[in-house]
Subunit: 358 residues, 2 copies
Amino acid sequence: MSRRATSGGEERRAVTIRDVAAHAGVSVATVSRILSGTYPSAPATRGKVMRAVRELDYVANANARGLAGASNRSVAIIVNSVVSPHYAHVAQGVQTQAALEGKLCIVGTTGGDPERELATVQLMRQEHAECVILVGNVVNNDAYRERMAEYARALAAAGSQLVLCGRPTLGPDVPALVIEYDNTGGAYAITSHLLSAGHRRILFLGRHEGWTTPGSRVAGYRNALADFGVPHDPGLEIDGTMERSEGYRMIRRRLAAGPPDFTAVFAGNDLIAAGARQALREHGLRIPDDISMVGFDDLPTAADIDLTTVHVPHEELGRTAVRMALRRGSGEAGMTEHVMLGTHIVVRDSVRVLRRPS
Amino acid sequence: MSRRATSGGEERRAVTIRDVAAHAGVSVATVSRILSGTYPSAPATRGKVMRAVRELDYVANANARGLAGASNRSVAIIVNSVVSPHYAHVAQGVQTQAALEGKLCIVGTTGGDPERELATVQLMRQEHAECVILVGNVVNNDAYRERMAEYARALAAAGSQLVLCGRPTLGPDVPALVIEYDNTGGAYAITSHLLSAGHRRILFLGRHEGWTTPGSRVAGYRNALADFGVPHDPGLEIDGTMERSEGYRMIRRRLAAGPPDFTAVFAGNDLIAAGARQALREHGLRIPDDISMVGFDDLPTAADIDLTTVHVPHEELGRTAVRMALRRGSGEAGMTEHVMLGTHIVVRDSVRVLRRPS
């Protein structure tokens, strides 16, 4: 029934704010003011406008600022969860740029389930989203690449565009845009920061074999150790995922096995750092007096706990993803298909300078 | 062009995972494993399955777990921004419950712009979302109530359902469900906690005239002062919005005007508390030694800064909103149209017990 109702609505010309203004006998600006509810208005005027809105079924036929009614009018981002601050900030960047471009922004959430991801891509495709942005950490195996190639082709066939954000490229034959940020470079820089302060036993928290994001961060950590001539001890790399509770768990377990055999911690992200810090404090260990710590991401939590960390341009990733997709759609020349944004250290108060070992 | 392509797709029977399995000559479980990419698989098998996926255009006709293809298959939540942790956690609850019910979850973001809100409601309605959940803090004036009443009627006419979350009821003639949580009770309890510890000069940060959420929190603060016989000093209520930067600004400004004339701070939410704490520290004031502080929301940041606060059941709000809407749609009896969830204090280490004034 609702499908038929919508089809009927598509055949009719959409009701615009001008129709409402004409019906109510007021200006377009007055209708806009009254609908937005942000300015005072006379009850009689509001009554006329709201009657016109009802009689024309304006909400059901919304055409605000040309947003609805156009066939390509929204940009979509698909994430595992909006509770992850990195995803939330990328989504915020997508929303900001979408608003500047006069598009709506919709966020699909999958809970990390590939079947829900598939169904969500399909939903966005049916909805004629102008682009579909997929974000974050993956296992970059053949099955993943084939799934993404299918999405890219299905979206391209529907006039849409796949954008991968914070993920590796798929190869030249797949119609996907890619925007990354420099995980390896950031991890190299922050590990060098600890090494320069005299730390040699640096515990890495959050290794996760096969996954792209922790994999790149571990690679930067190992590169820095090698360049400083510090032997790599695999026993200092602790497996775990990217959550706060995991940081707590990894440190609790390590300290249960014996006193700290490290002077510094490189937490795979700021959430891990927050959880690890809590576990250290419960063992009476203070940062930076007893143990130094650095993180990755520069989320608001890093400011709360005075954490030296790596700044990731979360919102700029989202904004650039939208700009790349829409410029490409407009046939604008000179757009690249692969962008890498830089990262840099933010120094706060979580690293102690040690005496150089004699 | 894309619209026509979709209409054609709707007339054909949707391709299912069973079709892919039959075409590839493997089991449904094998197709599912290979598409999910979470298990190892033989290259030859994967090749057969991905060829079947391509030949049947499976992604473009996805029908995973019956999610796509059904006319009512998604639940929608509309928020100002997913960067606000409260909204993000409510959205997480919506996603969790949607997954349990076999529905997709889509999040619309508006940046607080009523025209984008209107267009997003329209988009969700066209997409046949089974319910549309609007969250949070509003100015509860006639224009707002009329706008919501229009949404409620337009959605009901399309077989959908408006749910207001953390907002007041609209009245019995409007087809909207309402789920709230107890802002006033939580604020009363946490103010009483400060008063019981001997605090009499309690600075409230984040009053915002006319808005529902800060309004209810200020009301609880004033009720507690009255019940403890403490005179109400309007000079202790500071205007501001619910962001971290606002907490920082409000304390900076207050301390620039003179030394603290308060012993405790009630931050209107945990983000304000985090910003206020930073400003206090920059003035050399420690929590709780010099100034006590409490917040509201119990977000992860509260644990990072050892903040005593009021727990809000963010995810339960989202889950209950979905349950209410779907049970109602199924015609199940005994469902109420208005639910109020409780709040409670979480005691950490941010309040000092003062000597009673002699």
